[in-house]
């Protein structure tokens, strides 16, 4: 690192960090190149490249598969040329060095892929690796055969790597415009289904036909136009967003409230009006997103607010769905069996959805207490594992032969009617109506969660999450407080379950597998734990775009690789943005504490700084602070 410390730059201002093109960390670039190559091979071997090649993004030049493959050297080149400049250092001046660094990484990556292509050509390992195919060879050699293909791969790697590195060299403004243009073009291509649907809804099908190719994919000329418009708009309104934000921040609190309220009203109106213009597909998508927002908001109370890592949360979703099915389906197995249930409750009529809902919610709350009571006495990993166990137990109970006369075993419960409003019935055949129903419950859930956040109970959750023993010492009844979190979570999940049952018309045990819990958890983590807008954003991005456990998302092509992408995204977020897409302020502070300490250290390290400044920035935690071994660990008896 040839950076100079900021505070000495007065003296050294005459030595800016211009470097020669060969001042490259060769080994680092080559390492990154190696990783690029392996990534490209991996994407090929899991079948993503070929699988996604069928989906055209920009007709006829770029498919989704190629986008993935070609993005690798681009991003890699960018990473290779990137330098970390810590606060207090001046960044070296960008130039030829960065392009060379990117190019080297790209070339090495290309070489790895080239070797792979030779093997792909020479051997047949299809029995071992199902995606070891001619189609893959064909794709990775750009259809030119191995000889020419290898040269092409090397050249493409080199060029794209260099372009990736060159991104650093472009001045900030054009870089920003270019990036916005690219983002817009790709969004238009990826969101084809929605945009097509939306344009159709507004009677602009003709426009859609002009923009998109008949067999799918954005056409080149409209693509260029969209990019140009996006760049122009970004240029024209540069800084306007930030300006509006500061304007908003400077408003009087009262006025601010008013503006927020207006914003809310606009959102509500949009939420009501927009679906009218949306087709079935998008409305279906939105209602799935809504169902998962409900679940994620519920889990957010449990894990984000009270800090209870529940990985069996799907249990409450299952209870909600099954209870609703149990009460409203005329063909519910218990009605037809001759067990005691039908003998005792046989008189019970098939209930209307709204009548059944309070019973469903009450049941979920009771199950919440039953599961929660033993669980919340545990801590940490034990708690997580026990919740996992309970989640599976609930599913297996519904699946069991023992309860088959009541819940139908593997056959589940069918013929669940929709939500009868008297004048109409809401069911899965009308996704728009389902969306409205879900939206109402989402609104309730948002209201309840945000009220709880600022309530006394919310403060108690916060204290428990921070330090359970001390919270207890403050007089907080940790057992009932945590139980409340469990029950609130259970109730929100049961809302989702109740709507889900009416929407799909039949419930089966395998709709409630562990995977569902995990996906809800990922939604909460990726979105931003403990933060309502974050959690909602998480559901929109993951469920809406990638799709839920068994619900297709916007990118239906991804369904096969959904879990792979979920996993990759989770790892990426944990490494790079652990606070989630829209972070919660407090959690953000915690996760970036180390960086703050590092900054403080750097600040203290530079000459001429007094020790005091370091103290102000935050003292390094002492060992005793961290492990709390001297603490209040609650043991009894």
């Amino acid at each position: 690192m040839t950076a100079t410390a900021a505070n000495t730059s007065d003296a050294m201002a005459s030595a800016p960090g211009v470097r020669s093109a060969t001042d490259v960390d060769w080994r680092r670039s080559a390492n990154i190149g190696g990783i690029l190559g392996i990534t490209a091979v991996f994407i090929g071997l899991v079948g993503m490249a070929v699988g996604l090649d069928k989906r055209m993004l920009i007709d006829p030049v770029l498919s989704l598969g190629y986008l993935f493959v070609l993005a690798i050297p681009l991003i890699g080149g960018w990473i290779a040329a990137r330098e970390i400049t810590l606060e207090g250092m001046t960044a070296p001046i960008k130039g030829a060095r960065d392009i060379v660094a990117g190019a080297v990484a790209g070339l090495v990556g290309g070489a790895v892929v080239a070797m792979f292509l030779v093997m792909l050509n020479a051997w047949d390992l299809q029995e071992l690796l199902p995606n070891w195919s001619d189609a893959l060879l064909d794709m990775y050699t750009f259809g030119q055969g191995v000889g020419v293909g290898i040269v092409l791969v090397l050249v493409v790697g080199l060029v794209l790597g260099a372009i990736g590195g060159a991104v650093h060299v472009i001045p900030a403004k054009p870089r920003r415009l270019l990036s916005i243009a690219v983002q817009w073009v790709i969004s238009f291509a990826v969101l084809e289904a929605v945009i097509d649907d939306l344009l159709g809804g507004f009677g602009l099908q003709a426009v859609a036909d002009v923009i998109y190719a008949r067999r799918g994919g954005l056409l080149i000329i409209p693509g260029l136009i969209i990019g140009a418009i996006a760049a122009f708009v970004a240029h024209r309104f540069e800084g306007k967003g930030a300006e509006l934000k500061t304007q908003y921040m400077e408003l009087e609190p009262e006025r601010k409230n008013q503006v927020s309220k207006q914003g809310l009203i606009i959102m509500v109106v949009l939420g009501i009006v927009l679906p009218i213009f949306l087709g079935k597909i998008v409305n279906e998508l939105l209602s799935n997103v809504g169902l998962f927002i409900l679940l994620a908001l519920g889990l957010n109370v449990v894990i984000g607010r009270a800090g209870i890592l529940d990985i069996g949360y799907v249990a409450f979703f299952a209870v909600g769905s099954y209870m609703m099915a149990f009460l409203t389906s005329p063909l519910a197995p218990w009605r037809e069996s001759d067990g005691i249930l039908s003998a005792v409750f046989g008189w019970l009529p098939v209930l209307n959805w709204f009548v059944a809902l309070p019973i469903v919610v009450l049941t979920a709350a009771i199950v919440g207490v039953l599961i929660g009571t033993p669980v919340i006495r545990m801590r940490g990993d034990y708690l997580a594992i026990v919740t996992l166990g309970f989640g599976e137990i609930i599913r297996l109970l519904f699946l069991s032969d023992w309860l088959a006369p009541t819940f139908g075993g593997a056959q589940g419960i069918r013929s669940i009617p929709g939500v009868n409003l008297g004048f109409a019935e809401i069911n899965g055949t009308d996704p728009r109506a389902v969306f409205y129903l879900v939206a109402i419950f989402v609104a309730i859930a948002i209201y309840v969660s945000s009220q709880l956040e600022t309530s006394r109970l919310g403060r108690a959750w916060m204290a428990i999450r921070e330090d359970e023993s001390v919270a207890e010492a403050m007089g907080i009844n940790t057992v009932t407080t945590k139980l409340f979190a469990f029950v609130v979570g259970a109730i929100l999940a049961s809302f989702s379950g109740a709507i889900f049952a009416a929407k799909v018309g039949s419930v089966f045990p395998n709709s409630f597998e562990l995977l569902v819990s995990i996906i809800i958890l990922v939604v909460v983590i990726v979105g931003g734990m403990g933060n309502i807008p974050g959690v909602m954003m998480g559901a929109v991005v993951l469920i809406g775009v990638l799709g839920g456990p068994s619900q297709p998302g916007l990118l239906q092509e991804f369904s096969e690789f959904k879990l792979l992408i979920y996993g990759a995204l989770l790892v990426f977020m944990m490494l790079k943005k652990p606070e989630g897409l829209i972070p919660n302020a407090a959690r953000n502070r915690e996760l970036h504490q180390e960086e703050a300490l590092q900054d403080a250290w750097l600040k203290g390290d530079k000459p001429g700084t007094t020790k005091d400044e370091v103290d102000d920035a935050g003292p390094a935690p002492s060992a005793a602070d961290i492990d709390g071994s001297l603490g209040l660990g609650g043991a009894t008896s």
């Binding site: 006394r456 403060r459 108690a460 916060m462 204290a463 921070e466 330090d467 023993s469 001390v470 919270a471 207890e472 010492a473 403050m474 007089g475 907080i476 009844n477 407090a586 959690r587 502070r589 915690e590 504490q593 703050a596 103290d615 920035a617 935050g618 003292p619 935690p621 002492s622 005793a624 602070d625 709390g628 001297l630 603490g631 209040l632 609650g634 043991a635 009894t636 008896s637």
Partner: protein, 243 residues
């Protein structure tokens, strides 16, 4: 020396506490009277923290009685005891590190509903620790050790305690701060709050205390006035670092 109220505020009657099968406190008798400042001395792992946790109800004794204001509170939860005037400043202060200073203080008043009283007490604490007032919105974990100690005491005082349990309040503080810290404790004591303080720093603790106990592997081995303890040869040999 403070004139003692005839009725103890807080009492241990023949307390035995176990962690699992491990016998920690053995037949311990203690009494803390309103408004006095007493300290509990003892080596590492002698059961000092356990004594405090048993008083507050975070650990349940196997036999014996914990008596608060003449009432046996063995089966009463911590919240009940906090409501009736016991509060603890835990070992190492244990602030809610990611929460703001203000939130820490407010959580100290968790069981109270009197908004006006809470606001009043906040002001009182700001008066006592002006530095705390300057840092209300700062994350508690980023405060310096001395400031954290102030917030920890402030948080404890927010419940309007009659007796304050302090677990090694000078542990981990810079030497220069230890003395200030003892002055703060005396100041709180002067306002009429009884203080029961666990300390390793026996000399200093005894110099401000009325009485003291010495605990050794869970047994009370000495129980006397602070002055007498300061003079006690055995104790000097064991804890005060002087022959």
């Amino acid at each position: 020396m403070t004139v003692l109220d005839p009725k103890p505020l807080l009492e241990f009657r023949n307390i035995n506490t176990h962690y699992g099968a491990v016998h920690i406190l053995k037949d311990v008798d203690l009494a803390i009277y309103p408004g006095e400042l007493v300290c509990l001395l003892g080596g590492n792992a002698s059961g000092k923290s356990t004594t405090l946790k048993t008083l507050l109800g975070m650990v349940t004794p196997t036999t014996g009685e914990v008596v608060l204001d003449g009432e046996v509170v063995n089966d009463k939860p911590t919240s009940y005891r906090v409501e009736r005037g016991i509060t603890m400043v835990p070992e190492n202060r244990r602030l809610f590190k990611r929460l703001s200073v203000k939130e820490n203080l407010e959580l100290g008043a968790y069981l109270r509903n009197d908004k006006d009283g809470i606001a009043e007490d906040l002001e009182r604490i700001y008066g006592m620790f002006p530095r705390v007032k300057e840092r209300l919105s700062q994350r508690a974990g980023t405060l310096s050790g001395g400031e954290q100690q102030m917030v920890a005491m402030g948080r404890a005082l927010m419940s309007r305690p009659r007796v304050l349990l302090m677990d090694e309040p000078s542990m981990g503080l810079a030497p220069a701060l230890v003395e200030t810290n003892f002055e703060l404790i005396q100041q709180i004591h002067k306002e009429g709050v009884a203080i029961f303080m666990v300390e390793q720093n026996a000399n200093m603790a005894l110099s401000i205390a009325d009485r003291g106990w010495v605990l050794q592997t869970g047994k009370v081995v000495l129980d006397d006035t602070a002055d007498a303890l300061l003079q006690n040869q055995d104790l000097r040999a064991a804890y005060l670092g002087q022959a």
